[in-house]
């Protein structure tokens, strides 16, 4: 399975038959990574918009099993609500959008989970995680890490190595999103489902209750939004056109072109 076309490091294509074997660099990201990336992007945006719509029907958060307007919240967001029941201090009530928002939220969740499964299977089988995302031991030393962080804080242009491969901070944050934040957001989401937890009660009990699951779902989503913002800013710093082209067509152009 781990043939040369299935990695997304620079792809070396050997031109067949009698042509001289000149290696030509063509692909920054392989097709599966590009397709799953954009499906995930669309689903994430749908989940975010509908999640906000669902949230505003009750912008209060609790810890434990239960919570409602008669109990003390952990915190309340200073935003208007789409329900009369919640006292927000605003003199108006927003329109109810929960119906389609819940429909679309779960549909997007299904698509992103199936896409994520496909990506994860590919990542393990084709060695994408090992080759492209697992950081080098040498890069994990404090000196190397602080040098990379300092470079990011100066918004330095990417080096040629970074142009063709992920740097250590990218690798760590992508691994965090793929193996920690996405699994957590799925878990905390399912832990709010009364039917799901009837079959798997440990999934909600381990989180401290149904309202705790809801609160954690909110914070994990915030972490994912933070990742999205930093990700987009870094794409702009690294060269928006070149990076977008790399993730859409696979072609990154040449490093010289960029610098």
């Amino acid at each position: 399975m781990a043939t040369s076309e299935s990695v997304d490091a620079p792809l070396v294509v050997h031109i067949p038959s009698s042509a001289p074997a000149v290696p030509t660099v063509t692909s920054r990201h392989c097709a599966l990574v590009r397709v799953t990336h954009w499906i995930t992007t669309l689903c994430f945006l749908a989940l975010l918009v509908t999640g906000v719509e669902i949230l505003i029907s009750h912008p209060r958060f609790y810890w434990g099993e239960t919570g409602n307007v008669l109990t003390t919240p952990l915190f309340q967001l200073p935003i208007p609500s789409s329900r009369n029941l919640v006292q927000t201090g605003y003199g108006y009530v927003l329109p109810d959008q929960n119906g389609w928002s819940r429909y679309l939220h779960f549909q997007a969740a299904w698509i992103v989970i199936l896409t994520g499964l496909l990506y994860a299977i590919y990542g393990f089988v084709a060695g994408h995680f090992r080759k492209n995302l697992l950081p080098d031991k040498a890069d994990l030393s404090w000196r190397a890490l602080s040098r990379t962080i300092a470079g990011h804080l100066r918004f330095a242009r990417p080096t040629e190595a970074e142009f063709w491969s992920y740097n250590v901070l990218q690798r760590l944050s992508y691994l965090l999103v793929i193996f920690v934040l996405f699994p957590l957001v799925i878990w905390t989401g399912l832990a709010m489902s009364p039917a799901f937890v009837s079959a798997f009660p440990a999934t909600v009990n381990a989180l401290g209750g149904q309202q705790s699951a809801r609160t954690l779902h909110f914070f994990v989503s915030l972490a994912l939004v933070l990742f999205l913002l930093v990700h987009v800013v870094m794409v702009c710093v690294a060269g928006f056109r070149s990076r977008m082209r790399a993730m859409i067509t696979g072609r990154a152009g040449t490093y010289k072109e960029r610098t």
Binding site: I54, V69, F106, S193, P194, F196, V197, S198, Q210
Partner: protein
């Protein structure tokens, strides 16, 4: 075209053909085993069907979590309610002595039950959570007769697939499949926290569906119909919720 890409094309074509026919078979099987919700049409049908089918496969016999007496919410929330209808107010003035629940449809012995009759059946209680789709929740003790007991009394016919239930208030009706209708925690509820069921929480009679969100637990129940198809009720989407834009299945 190199040798490699032709092989890829053939494999891709075969995989697509297998996938499409696999989907066709899956759809037929899902229909046969009752894994397709009535609101499966439209752009959100895929997600709804996946949710309902997988929850039915995973949760057919599972019990909603029950809580200890100490976890009962001190003040159970009373949700916003439209002002009661004249019909409701008349029955309320009579202390609900004339409240009737009629059960008809695909049953051997259609019947009409007074509250006193329902209370004479074996009474059960459960301490479970009411979760609103908005995000809030509370825990209460619910007292009533399991719906399965009443369905046994009227004799449900074997081809029955759904129970449709109606509030005395207009345009307030829902339906559940037989899995939820016969579920041991699905109660015709007339008591709460050791007392009568308050009107604000659905008294005198509420159908409590413990494994679904609050909106499936319709208040002020007066009529039930057992059926094999939801097509002839309302717009054929299963209940008032999908007509108002909300999912028919509310286990999530």
């Amino acid at each position: 075209m190199t040798h490699l890409s032709r092989r890829k094309l053939i494999i891709g074509g075969l995989a697509t053909a297998a996938g499409v026919s696999g989907l066709g078979v899956a759809a037929r099987l899902a229909q046969r085993y009752g894994l397709v919700p009535p609101d499966h049409g439209g752009i959100y049908g895929l997600g709804e069907t996946l949710t309902y089918a997988s929850q039915r496969l995973l949760t057919r016999h599972s019990l909603a979590r029950e809580f200890s007496r100490s976890q009962i919410s001190k003040r159970p929330l009373v949700n916003e309610l439209a002002p009661p209808s004249e019909a409701f107010k008349r029955l309320q003035a009579g202390g609900f002595a004339d409240w009737r629940l009629t059960v008809d449809g695909m049953v051997d012995r259609p019947g009409s039950f007074s509250l006193a009759q329902l209370k004479s059946y074996p009474s059960r209680s459960q301490i479970t959570m009411v979760q609103c789709e908005e995000g809030w929740s509370y825990i209460a003790e619910w007292i009533g007769v399991p719906l399965s007991h009443v369905l046994d009394a009227v004799g449900v016919q074997p081809q029955a697939r759904y129970v449709v239930y109606f509030s005395i208030e207009p345009d307030w009706w829902e339906s559940i499949d037989m899995t939820d209708a016969l579920h041991p925690q699905t109660f015709l509820t007339y008591g709460m926290n050791g007392d009568e069921l308050p009107v604000g929480n659905g008294g005198p009679l509420r159908l409590r569906v413990a494994r679904q969100l609050g909106y499936k637990s319709v208040k002020f129940i007066t009529h039930m119909t057992v059926t094999d198809s939801l097509k002839k009720f309302g717009k054929g989407l299963g209940s008032a919720s999908p007509e108002g834009g909300y999912a028919w299945y509310a286990g999530i």
